[in-house]
């Protein structure tokens, strides 16, 4: 029976984000929160592994208290437990303390055979946190994976490299990051959601992890945003196809037998 973790993040739905025309900053106030899309693929990869090998899936997120619904959503899809890592000490973290805090949480929960992460988040796109967790924990890792199988005592991870598939054999325990659209995630079901909402989630705070406040949250974040520039929209020169181009298109279509 495998002990599986999935690390997820609640992000604003990118469809709802607009750019303020004056300040040029992202306006996410109208955006609905969703589970970071590649994380949903990571969860599905974990569920597929569990379906085959058996095991228990713990979904972990670090975020504000309102992120509980993201965990419940994942439990509705089939995860067994939800852990919300939340504390004002953790707030304002860049990817370094985030990886450190999540790795510490995994350790606090007794470690895992395998930890799944999404390849990156849609709201910051660093791709740091999965590998960061692996390094802090000293786990093996494979990134940009689309399929994971278990051949005791190894995990077999498939990664898409352009034009070919690379298959890696990695030891246990391991961290894998899963690519967006790696699989077709199953939907939550009413029955599982009811169970999830009844069961609820567990909160982990720094009184549990006992991490040095200097190493976590904003204080523990070495990244400083020095400047931000908005890239101007590329100038589009609209090409207006004329009759000649249209004739060409038609002749190609006729040539290929698409139209007669």
């Amino acid at each position: 029976m495998l002990k599986i973790a999935v690390m997820i993040k609640q992000v604003p739905d990118s469809q709802d984000i607009t750019i303020d025309p004056v300040t040029k900053t992202l306006n996410r106030s109208q955006a609905r929160n969703v589970v970071n899309p590649p994380d949903v693929n990571a969860l599905e990869a974990a569920l597929l592994l569990k379906d085959k090998e058996g095991g228990e899936i713990t979904v972990i997120t670090m975020g504000p208290p309102m992120a509980d619904v993201a965990l419940l959503e994942c439990m509705g899809r089939g995860a067994d437990k939800g852990i919300l890592v939340t504390d004002r000490f953790f707030a304002g973290a860049d990817t370094w303390p985030t990886s450190y805090t999540l790795a510490s949480t995994a350790d606090y929960l007794g470690g895992f055979d395998i930890i799944f992460c999404g390849e990156e988040t849609t709201d910051s796109s660093t791709g740091h946190v999965g590998p960061g967790i692996a390094e802090f924990l000293g786990y093996q890792q494979a990134t940009y994976v689309n399929k994971v199988e278990y051949e005791e005592p190894f995990f077999i991870a498939e990664r898409d490299i352009e034009g070919a598939t690379e298959t890696l054999r990695i030891g246990k325990p391991a961290v894998v990051t899963i690519t967006l659209n790696a699989n077709a995630p199953r939907n939550p079901t009413l029955k599982k959601k009811i169970e999830a909402y009844k069961k609820g989630i567990t909160i982990v705070a720094n009184k549990d992890l006992k991490l040095d406040p200097a190493c976590i949250g904003l204080k523990g974040s070495p990244t400083i945003v020095k400047d931000m520039k908005t890239v101007a929209d590329p100038v589009k020169t609209p090409v207006k196809p004329g009759i000649e181009e249209l004739d060409k298109v038609i002749s190609v279509l006729v040539e290929r037998g698409i139209v007669k």
Binding site: V69, E73, L190, I194
Partner: protein
């Protein structure tokens, strides 16, 4: 009910679930105003309630084009005026006609509305999740993001709901699934709505700063304006329009009977809303605004005749799903009707539970309760209103007649003035409106409205 019998999907006796304890006292399908009101009512009385909604957060997909009247809401959520995400309280109602070049509007601004602040503009995508949250706080289990697939029916009784191969059971299923009640129709609990029973509303939310809104509409920081128009400038179509202020946006839209659109055949609703927006007296009000949201919704406007059987063995129909919306040409209301139906359905379930009887006979108390409120009474009182609101002259000739009279009486042309009687007579003959016909129509409005 014949249809209902035909549609019963019998479950093999081996799978029979009627023998065991149901999972819930009640399952509510749909976290709109009706569903949440029912869930709050039942959960507050200690019942074990499951509220399921397709959207996440619950109710976030809901849409309306009107003002919320909170009389009934106050019954279950007394602090709604301070706690709910409301936009502006309405102390200014306008009703009027639009012709191609004019607007003729009654502008009613009153301190009476300011005193009790009972009417508010709301954005449902915020308001409905709040109501669902209140249901949760009252003790209901609220599950968002799930679309119920079908009803579980056994021995002519609704015994639960089905989703992903699972059946969740309850003594009563409250169907608050909206104007297009798929589950109820598929189970034969009600007939599909016909064109003549429906209107289609098309709406836009236009972002505008609070300052601009307050300046343009002569409002204070919290007060708001709501208006309804008969639009006589859109060819021969019977179109109504609405326009109201939110905190930092305007909601506006058009409402057209489905039959009208079908009859016309060529006009698209988006053209109609564009024409309304570009009307000379509407365009300046939204100038500089950006459309941030648009949507469309069906409105059950069939009146009392299209209200189906409201209950049966193990089920009840609520809100829009039960056709409980009211329109008389002057007002178009649905949210308060939904809330009152939710409260009465919830009370009925609690009483049925005390009797431990969830048959149609026991649930009939729902209709009795609803019948004693304005909800069913209004629909009965105004049962002939469509004869007025469907009269094409209301949208074409009469607005023009009014316009003609006002042009003649309120405008100085440097010509000898005429008596009002002659002005009306001339305007009417210009539009070839027979005096007798006009008087008959006027009497019809007087009698039915």
């Amino acid at each position: 009910m014949a249809n209902f019998k035909e549609n019963i999907k019998r479950i093999n006796s081996s799978e029979s679930i009627s023998g065991r304890m149901p999972d819930y006292d009640a399952i509510v399908v749909g976290a709109g105003n009706a569903g949440s009101a029912a869930a709050i009512t039942m959960a507050s009385k200690g019942l074990n309630v499951l509220l399921v909604d397709r959207a996440d957060p619950p109710g976030a997909k809901n849409l309306s084009g009107g003002v919320l009247w909170g009389n009934d809401l106050a019954e279950i959520l007394p602090k709604w005026q301070t706690e709910a995400p409301l936009e502006r309280f309405i102390d200014n109602k306008k009703i009027g006609f639009l012709t191609e070049k004019s607007s003729i509007v009654i502008d009613f601004k009153t301190e009476f509305f300011r005193d009790n602040k009972i009417a508010h503009s709301v954005l449902r995508a915020k308001f409905d999740p709040w109501m669902a949250k209140k249901a949760k706080e009252a003790g209901a289990l609220v599950i968002p993001g799930i679309t119920v697939e079908s009803l579980a029916i056994e021995d002519r009784t609704v015994v639960g709901i089905k989703e992903s191969g699972d059946t969740i059971t309850a003594n009563v299923v409250l169907l608050a699934e909206g104007v297009n009640p798929r589950l109820s129709i598929e189970a034969g609990l009600r007939k599909p709505l016909q064109d003549r029973e429906l209107s289609v509303g098309v709406k836009e939310v236009i972002k505008l700063s609070a300052q601009k809104i307050e300046d343009r509409f002569n409002l204070t920081k919290e007060s708001g304006m709501a208006s309804e128009y008969i639009v006589g400038s859109l060819g021969n179509l019977n179109i109504g329009a609405f326009f109201y202020t939110n905190k930092e946006s305007i909601s506006l839209g058009i409402v057209s009977p489905m039959e009208e659109l079908r009859r016309n055949g060529v006009t698209h609703t988006y053209d109609l809303i564009e024409k309304f927006k570009s009307h000379p007296s509407i365009a300046p009000l939204i100038e500089g605004g950006t459309t941030i949201e648009y949507g469309a919704h069906l409105i059950p406007e069939g009146g009392i005749d299209s209200v189906p059987q409201l209950y049966g063995n193990g089920y009840m129909l609520l809100g829009d799903a039960a056709g409980l919306a009211f329109s008389n040409g002057l007002v178009l209301q649905g949210m308060n009707y939904a809330i009152v139906s939710g409260i009465k359905a919830g009370e009925a379930v609690a009483e049925a539970k005390a009797r431990n009887d969830f048959t149609a006979k026991s649930l009939a108390v729902y209709e009795q309760k609803l019948g004693s409120t304005y909800a069913l009474k209004d629909l009965k009182t105004f049962k002939d209103i469509r004869k007025v609101t469907n009269n094409p002259k209301m949208y074409t000739v009469y607005p023009q007649l009014l316009e003609g009279i006002l042009l003649e009486t309120l405008w100085e042309r440097g010509q000898p003035k005429k008596k009002t009687r002659d002005v009306i007579g001339e305007a009417a003959s210009k539009l070839s409106v027979g005096k007798v016909k006009a008087l008959t129509d006027l009497y019809g409005i007087y009698r039915r409205m």
